[in-house]
């Protein structure tokens, strides 16, 4: 190796992808220091592959938010269950709701372990921790860029940047502890959901007693009046408000400035409460991902039968629970009063458990397909997508906003739910091809390169070495 590790960036500059940081630095370490878990090409490949699947899959859940007013999806759920749109939603929600974000979070946790472990540190130089935190601060900035400038209100980078900052002290824990902590986070999230639902139920109960009192022609106390309006407000917030919907559609089909303004309060609201209440959603999966990665789950180290078992259990339990969850959401969207009267615990308690099972199922399935060597070209392409996950994620925002919003092609709210998935398919094919071509010539995706350069505060090599040689 011709490099001298004078700068930490040199550690990684040999092979462009993130995961190879381990390869390069461990190769150095193994010269003198303690031996290190075997790094095979497989390992790099599979992590990227799963990440690629998650990255593409995340668009399945995001596309309705990009492309239609939510009232459209709601009316599909309220309508007959025989329409193509309803069936599409049933399949998507049963199999994928939250799972792709879940996988993405898991791989973020895994990437965190990869980034911080085995990095050589120059005494007195910038520590790994500092690079890690710089990197995440930039990620927060990219997230805000994605939300406020690229106008993607469903951005997750902002949250990943912030929550990633909490992971650092946990990186050396045993896998079992990490998974226990992850499950603890899930439990906290569950409790919050149950608690919120109990509050809704309380509002409903107060309303019902106020209505009963009214029927007996008793004069209502101010408290009862308040109880009545509280429930009425909930009903009102659930009912479609045509004025608001039309205004939203009109705005989304207008120029950049109007949409930008329209999104400011939305984005700041999302980022405020998404951070404060949504933390358990992502943090739990990050911890579990760290644990699974240390166990070797994502690096193709487990036996085929283990992956088979995970697939069986994950899909076997996850799909039925997912279907029950979807059914619950349908009843909820049809008539919240009926839902609150019928259930004492919301379907939301199933959300994370179901998600975890399905994530395991998805990841095992990918691993098994990879091992079976059925479609190696596809797996390679997926790995390429995963390698450029950051670029591809931002690119989805760029493509979809341009396709749907008024300053681009203005297709907002013009497609039906199932038609949206044609767009998804097109974006997928494009990203699979684009990533494969790009990585032939460049070391990183463009945004990866920018992110890296900002983190190390020095311009990183961009073009692939072979090309440079051939040029000269």
């Amino acid at each position: 190796m011709e490099f001298v590790a004078s700068h930490p960036a040199d550690n990684e500059s040999i092979i462009p992808i993130e995961n190879t940081e381990v390869v390069s630095s461990s190769a150095k370490i193994s010269n003198g220091h303690s031996p290190h878990p075997v790094e095979t090409a497989d390992r790099i490949h599979t992590v990227d592959m799963v990440r690629g699947v998650a990255l593409l899959g995340i668009l399945l859940m995001n596309i309705p938010v990009f492309g239609i007013d939510w009232s459209v999806a709601n009316s599909v759920l309220r309508g007959p269950s025989t329409t193509t749109d309803f069936r599409t939603m049933a399949v998507i929600f049963t199999f994928f709701d939250g799972t792709m974000r879940g996988l993405f979070s898991m791989l973020f946790g895994a990437g965190m372990v990869l980034f911080t472990l085995n990095k050589k540190q120059v005494p007195g130089g910038v520590s790994v921790a500092e690079y890690y935190y710089r990197r995440l601060l930039w990620l927060v900035a990219f997230g805000m860029f994605n939300a406020y400038i690229l106008l993607w209100e469903g951005d997750i980078l902002f949250y990943y940047g912030l929550f990633g900052m909490l992971l650092y002290p946990f990186r050396k824990l045993a896998a079992s502890w990490l998974i226990i902590i992850g499950i603890l986070c899930i439990t906290i999230g569950m409790f919050k959901n149950v608690w919120w639902f109990q509050q809704t139920r309380e509002t409903r109960a107060n309303y019902l007693s106020a209505v009963a009192a009214e029927k007996e022609k008793k004069k209502l106390t101010t408290k009862q009046e308040e109880a009545k309006t509280a429930w009425d407000n909930i009903i009102k917030s659930q009912a479609p408000d045509t004025v608001k919907i039309n205004k939203n559609i009109q705005t989304m089909r207008s120029d950049y400035g109007s949409i930008f303004k329209h999104f400011i309060p939305r984005n700041s609201g999302n980022e405020t409460w998404g951070t404060y209440h949504g933390i358990w959603d992502m943090l739990s999966m990050m911890f579990i991902g760290m644990g699974l990665f240390i166990m070797g789950f994502f690096s193709n180290k487990l036996s085929t039968s283990t992956y088979g078992m995970c697939l069986l259990v994950g899909y076997g339990l996850g799909i039925p629970i997912g279907y029950i969850f979807f059914k619950g959401a349908v009843i909820d969207s049809q008539d919240i009063a009926r839902y609150v009267d019928a259930y004492s615990i919301p379907h939301w308690v199933l959300y994370d458990g179901r998600r975890l099972l399905l994530c395991l199922g998805h990841a095992s399935l990918i691993m098994l397909i990879y091992r079976s060597k059925v479609v190696p070209w596809l797996m390679k392409a997926l790995a390429n997508v995963g390698q450029m996950a950051f670029t591809n994620y931002l690119m989805q925002s760029i493509i979809c906003t341009l396709f749907f919003f008024g300053y681009g092609f203005g297709n907002y709210n013009k497609l039906s739910v199932h038609q949206l998935y044609y767009v998804v398919g097109t974006v997928w094919i494009f990203q699979l091809i684009f990533s494969s071509i790009w990585l032939k010539y460049f070391r990183f995706g463009p945004f990866e390169w920018a992110w890296r350069s900002l983190t190390y505060w020095i311009k990183q090599p961009f073009v692939k070495r072979e090309n440079k040689i051939s040029e000269s």
């Binding site: 910038v126 520590s127 921790a129 500092e130 935190y133 650092y168 002290p169 205004k247 980022e271 405020t272």
Partner: protein
């Protein structure tokens, strides 16, 4: 005279203590302890408004009267302390971050960044405890923890870069204040447009009636939904800024409720609003700017014993003068805005509190410089000793303030919420200060760390540590400054 301590001495102490202390102990800087102590005690005089139920409405009433002893008392507190003590806490915290992260690492088994992040996470836990169990809605530990983590990569920067960062962050803070106000102005402009339209259509319909134009040919004569919304938006804003006496006893009943659960419910919204919305929109800039300033000042050796005394004096006088001037103007304009917000919006390009972040920064730095000048001059030594002791137990004292106030003011305890006059609240705060000073002095005679500080250290290192170090040469009391 106070012994001057050169950096070499500092090192000597650290290395000699290496064998005595398995885990690191923070070298205490008396200047920082004094300022921290003063900030924690001073902050109570503002927090007591919220603790004791001296509401914004009552404060606005005083501002509108703008005369009388009560107004002067409130004005002085608002001008001199409000926001400034929080700023001082943040400045000292920022300086403390630099000290923490530049300790000699060979003493420590765990890497410093790990310890630091762990400490911040536990501090976050303490903040949640303070807010959700001791029911202090204005808790600052939460923000110190979060923003401390965000600013971790900034610690390495040189003083100049830190200084620039602090300025940029403070300017963003000003910008956000301006931006909110600009929204109000836009809302007002829309409102005027709607009013003009309303006038026009009423004129049109009058004309139409005169000329007997058939109904079909008349123009649209009612406001669109958008116009109604615009009209209501501005009316809502005016309502917010209006002084409304009717809402005076709002919350008193809930806080005096005897059931802890009910009080908890009542405070939950405020707490979450503080931890989530305030942190996102304001706190990051508010706390972050001052932390960066603290780091910059520390790296400029502002807190060290060889910082020239004359410069303390100069900085103190100049900064306090500028700060008070800015605050004075702010209060004037705040009063105009309160009297008639519509008139204010028409007449002013900028919000009354546009320069509040600067006012705060100037006054706080001025205080710090002034106090350090007096301290270095050897004046009022007993005061500084008292503050130093309180500052060493800052976390303990801060948490105890919440507990005292929970017991004294809420219905869960004695239920004095909303029952005390303004001056009585300050007297109560003073009593707590005395209790805390006495407590801190006595506690430190027997122990090296305050109970909360000790707990935090144990949690951070994840093992039991002694609450006192027997050896007199121990790093915790290493600085040979006994006042």
């Amino acid at each position: 005279m106070l012994p001057e301590l050169s950096p070499e001495d500092n090192d000597a102490i650290t290395t000699s203590s290496k064998d005595l202390q398995p885990t690191l102990a923070i070298i205490r800087n008396p200047a920082l302890d004094i300022l921290r102590g003063m900030a924690v005690l001073g902050a109570l005089f503002i927090s007591i408004w919220i603790f004791g139920g001296f509401s914004t409405i009552q404060q606005n009433e005083l501002l509108l009267q703008s005369k009388g002893g009560n107004y002067r008392l409130w004005g002085a507190m608002e001008l001199l302390l409000d926001g400034k003590m929080r700023a001082l806490i943040c400045i000292v915290f920022g300086a403390g971050m630099v000290i923490f992260l530049s300790q000699k690492t060979e003493q420590v088994t765990t890497a410093l960044p790990d310890l630091f992040i762990r400490r911040q996470l536990w501090l976050l836990g303490f903040g949640l405890l303070n807010a959700l169990v001791f029911l202090w809605t204005g808790d600052i530990l939460f923000q110190l923890a979060v923003v401390g983590i965000l600013l971790f990569p900034f610690v390495r920067m040189n003083p100049r870069a830190l200084w620039i960062s602090a300025t940029v962050v403070t300017l963003i803070y000003c910008g956000k204040i301006y931006w909110n106000y600009a929204d109000d102005r836009t809302a007002y402009a829309k409102h005027t447009a709607v009013l003009a339209f309303e006038k026009k259509i009423s004129k049109d319909s009058l004309l139409a009636a005169e000329k007997k134009i058939p109904l079909k040919e008349q123009k649209k004569d009612s406001l669109s939904a958008q116009q109604k919304e615009d009209k209501a938006a501005w009316e809502g804003i005016v309502q917010q800024h209006k002084h409304d006496l009717k809402a005076k006893d709002n919350g008193v009943k809930e806080v005096r409720n005897a059931e802890f659960g009910k009080i908890w419910d009542h405070f939950l919204q405020a707490t979450q609003g503080r931890e989530a919305r305030w942190t996102y929109q304001t706190g990051v800039w508010d706390v972050g700017g001052m932390m960066l300033l603290g780091m910059a000042l520390f790296k400029k050796r502002f807190f060290e014993t060889n910082f020239p005394k004359s410069r303390y004096l100069l900085l103190g006088i100049a900064c306090i003068a500028v700060g008070i001037l800015l605050g004075w103007y702010r209060l004037q304009f705040q009063q105009y805005a309160l009297r008639d917000y519509t008139k204010y919006v028409i007449g002013h390009w900028t919000p009354f509190n546009l320069l509040f972040p600067l006012e705060r920064a100037f006054l706080t730095v001025g205080y710090a410089a002034g106090i350090l000048f007096l301290f270095r001059s050897g004046l009022l030594r007993f005061v500084w000793t008292a503050f130093e002791k309180v500052g060493k137990l800052a976390l303990t004292n801060y948490l105890f303030q919440s507990i005292f106030c929970l017991v004294f003011f809420t219905g869960f305890g004695m239920g004095y919420f909303g029952r005390l006059q303004q001056y009585q609240l300050y007297l109560f705060a003073l009593e707590i200060c005395i209790i805390q000073i006495v407590f801190s002095v006595f506690w430190l005679r027997y122990f090296t760390y305050g109970p909360a500080e000790w707990l935090l250290r144990c949690l951070m290192h994840w093992k039991w540590l002694p609450i006192k170090t027997h050896n007199k040469k121990s790093p915790a009391s290493a600085l040979p400054i006994h006042l």
